[in-house]
C-alpha cells in the first residue's frame, strides 16, 4: 500500500510497519503534520502500528508541527517510532524533538533504516 502528498511518501512495509519519508528539502508545518497523522491513521485502519519515520530530507519543522507529532492525536496512530536522522539538520531536528517535545509513545533516533527496522520488529 502506498500513498503520497506533496511532501511525504507513505509506504506500508511487510510485517505491518508504516514507513514515512519526506521529499528533499521539505519544510514541515502544522498542516502537514495533521495531514500526515490523518493519512497514517487511514493506512493503519485504526491500529497502532510501528512507524519508521525518515526525516533525513526535512530542512525545517515548525514548533507547532513538532508539538503535534509529540501529542495525543498523533500518538494514536503508532505503537512505537524509529526516527531516521542521517544528516546534520535532521539530527538536530530529531534531537530537539526528543529533548523538548518529548513524544508520548516510545521513540528512538537511528542514523540508518536497518537499525531502526530491527528495533521496530522487536516485540
Amino acid at each position: 500500500m502506498y500513498r503520497e502528498t506533496e511532501k511525504i511518501k507513505f509506504t506500508m512495509l511487510e510485517g505491518g510497519i508504516l514507513n514515512t519519508e519526506c521529499f528533499p528539502k521539505t519544510t514541515m508545518t502544522l498542516e502537514d503534520g495533521i495531514e500526515s497523522t490523518r493519512i497514517s491513521a487511514e493506512m493503519n485502519e485504526g491500529q497502532e502500528l510501528p512507524l519508521l519515520c525518515d526525516i533525513t530530507n526535512v530542512v525545517k519543522m515548525s514548533q507547532e508541527c513538532r508539538k503535534h507529532f509529540a501529542g495525543e492525536e498523533h500518538a494514536k496512530t503508532f505503537s512505537k517510532c524509529a526516527l531516521i536522522i542521517s544528516n546534520p539538520i535532521s539530527k538536530i531536528i530529531g534531537n530537539f524533538f526528543m529533548g523538548l517535545n518529548k513524544p508520548l509513545k516510545p521513540t528512538k533516533l537511528f542514523t540508518n533504516k536497518s537499525d531502526g527496522l530491527q528495533w521496530l520488529q522487536k516485540s
Binding site: 530542512v59 544528516n87 546534520p88
Partner: protein, 286 residues
C-alpha cells in the same frame, strides 16, 4: 564563504539575547554542521517565543482571577456588614427567652463573623502582591512587642523573645501582618494548656532569619508543602475558624518583596516558622 554564514549565526544569537525571537536564519541548500546550528537556533527561537506567549497568557489569566477575587470579596463586604448589623438588632429587639433561639442567633453571629473574616482575608491577600509598598527601617523588637500588646497575645500565650531583635528593612504594615498571622496561628492551633511561643533571630550575610517557634501539635512533613497554599487549612480539631488564607497571605507578602518563608516541624513537636528580612545596612549600601 562560511564567514558569512557564521556571521548570520552570531547575529541570530545576538537577536536571541536581545529577546528577538522572530528573525530566522535562511538555511539555503546546505545540509552541514553550520546549517544544523542555524536550524537549532531557529527552533530555539520558536520555542522561546512559544514559552513567552504562554507565560504572558498565564500572567493575564492570573491577573484577571486576582481582580475577580478582589471585586467579589469587596462586593460581599457590604451585605455581610448589613447582615451582621441586622442579626445584632434581632438579638437586641427580640431578647429571646427560648434557649434554642438564643443559640441559633449566637451561631448566626459566629457564621457571619467568620464569613466577614474570610472576605477580609481574601481582600488582604489580593492587596498583598502590590509592588507599590513603602519600605522603611523597622525596629523588629519594638514592632513585635507592639503586636503582642495591641492584639493581647501576651494574655493568650507565654511569649519569649531571645536577644535584642535587629533593625530590618521592610514595609511596616506587611511586617505586622506577617507576625500577627504567625502568632495567631500558633495560639489558634495550640493543643496544650499553655501556648508557648519563642522568637529568635539568626544573623546571615545579607539578611536576618526570624524564627517563631511554638509548642503546638506540629505539622506532618507530608503536609508542610501545602500549608502556604490559598484555602488550604489542615484538618485539626482546633482549626474551625481557619480558612487557609492567613499563611498564603504571609507567603505572598514576603515573596512579593523577595523574602522567603518556610516551616520546620514534626508531628507532636511544635512548629517553627522561619522567614527572612533584609538588613537595613545591606539595602542602603546596594
Amino acid at each position: 564563504m562560511d564567514q558569512g554564514r557564521i556571521n548570520e549565526i552570531l547575529d541570530k544569537i545576538a537577536g536571541l539575547a536581545a529577546l528577538d525571537y522572530d528573525s530566522e536564519i535562511d538555511i539555503k541548500d546546505n545540509n552541514d554542521e553550520l546549517a544544523a546550528i542555524a536550524v537549532g537556533l531557529n527552533m530555539l527561537g520558536e520555542e522561546l517565543k512559544a514559552q513567552v506567549v504562554s507565560k504572558n497568557q498565564l500572567t493575564n489569566i492570573n491577573s484577571k482571577l486576582e481582580k475577580f477575587a478582589y471585586s467579589t470579596a469587596h462586593d460581599l463586604k457590604s451585605p455581610l456588614n448589613a447582615i451582621a448589623g441586622l442579626v445584632s438588632l434581632i438579638e437586641l429587639y427580640s431578647q429571646p427567652e427560648n434557649d434554642d433561639l438564643k443559640a441559633c442567633i449566637g451561631q448566626l453571629k459566629t457564621v457571619v463573623s467568620n464569613m466577614k473574616n474570610m472576605v477580609i482575608g481574601i481582600l488582604n491577600y489580593s492587596r498583598s502582591d502590590s509592588n507599590e509598598l513603602d519600605f522603611e527601617r523597622l525596629n523588629l523588637h519594638e514592632l513585635i512587642q507592639s503586636v503582642i500588646r495591641q492584639d493581647g497575645f501576651g494574655d493568650l500565650a507565654q511569649i519569649s523573645i531571645k536577644d535584642q531583635l535587629p533593625v530590618v528593612w521592610f514595609n511596616k504594615i506587611s511586617a505586622i501582618q506577617v507576625v500577627r498571622n504567625i502568632f495567631d496561628n500558633a495560639i489558634k492551633y495550640c493543643d496544650k494548656p499553655l501556648c508557648e511561643i519563642a522568637v529568635n533571630v539568626y544573623n546571615k550575610e545579607a539578611h536576618y532569619e526570624i524564627e517563631i517557634k511554638d509548642n503546638g501539635p506540629g505539622i506532618d512533613p507530608k503536609d508542610q508543602s501545602q500549608i502556604f497554599d490559598l484555602f488550604n487549612s489542615l484538618n485539626q480539631p482546633h482549626n474551625s475558624e481557619s480558612f487557609g488564607i492567613g499563611l498564603a497571605n504571609v507567603k505572598q507578602i514576603l515573596q512579593s518583596s523577595g523574602e522567603k518563608i518556610w516551616v520546620e516541624s514534626e508531628l507532636g513537636a511544635g512548629a517553627t516558622f522561619i522567614f527572612t528580612l533584609k538588613k537595613e545596612n545591606h539595602v542602603q549600601r546596594n
